[in-house]
Symmetry: C2
Subunit: 213 residues, 2 copies
Amino acid sequence: MATMLCFICTDLCIAPAALKSALGAAVARSFNCISVDGDMSTNDTVIALANGAAGTPIIQSPDDPGYEAFAQALGFVTQDLAKKIARDGEGSSKFVTVNVAGAESYEQAHAVGRAVTRYNLVKTCIWGEDFNWGRVAAAIGASGEAVDPGTVEIAIGGLRAFAAGEPVEYDQDQAATIMKGREIEISIDLGMGAQSATCWSCDLTPTFVELNA
Amino acid sequence: MATMLCFICTDLCIAPAALKSALGAAVARSFNCISVDGDMSTNDTVIALANGAAGTPIIQSPDDPGYEAFAQALGFVTQDLAKKIARDGEGSSKFVTVNVAGAESYEQAHAVGRAVTRYNLVKTCIWGEDFNWGRVAAAIGASGEAVDPGTVEIAIGGLRAFAAGEPVEYDQDQAATIMKGREIEISIDLGMGAQSATCWSCDLTPTFVELNA
């Protein structure tokens, strides 16, 4: 969470157990999907508070009416906040989205996405505006997940660079233009299943080092 | 291994299985204990070759005479090479040794050591010559190992900064002098057992980012 305290308040009538359940699910797909420096901090905290002021029937469990709508809204809020943390990363100049599709499970997709967002050598390349899909491939391999290079596809900014175990020829000018953008999107398809996950990050810059020295 | 190919040759008469066993043990306590950028590379390779030119009796297994002496020599060579990789880390200005003692197992000591050597915010502080034991504590906590802050001790350059769950007063001038050194030694005692491990790393500098952009 990049050393962040997050407090979320709602006037919804929701019991602690149901609120905890919704918060856990929302955090898993938001704050636990971002990386700025790759590190965990002793301060990383998310607290949700419900005061019941709305006066609506109390939501006791995920099966009760209203829970799903609340969970979705909470997911929207936490994802928005999480992305803002990555976008505002110390010294960062670019916002990075890593979409992992074609995974056997959400956990696998998430593990690959996290590995790519935490890989320092991907982050430095993004700062340097280098269309370096090879480092993305290395990060996928280093994730520890059992993936088959023969089915993996990698694209940056929609421009495909690797497929069927081989580099794909791409337009160098288009690649350069993509890397000049402030928002970089890395898309990975593992070609193994139907599950997906998205992680967010930022580039690693000399300014980051100086701010944290 | 910081993107490195390592080839070790010996004229010893040693069978493949015994050589593999000795190499595995040596790599575990050398190349797998260093971190430059925290990343694994597709190129990281260690190969050992024995040509038998010595003409001595073939060492078939770890129980055979000569195995232990060879294993120790191999351990010395691999550790020396591994430390040289960390010392020569791209853009680095300082060499870092992290000693973890008082662990319940070697694996636990190694996991804590690796977490500290990979923690970007520790590495930037070392570049900035900041005696920031708090980030070492955060890295220990983020290692995922179950440790009790009440028994952990942290010292940098032999100067104790944290013990019995409390910061320890230390001489600021001495701390500044320690951090100005080219070799920084972080000592951690988990206070849980008798096992230990050592990991090696370097600082994270703006030059590292520029070289890898």
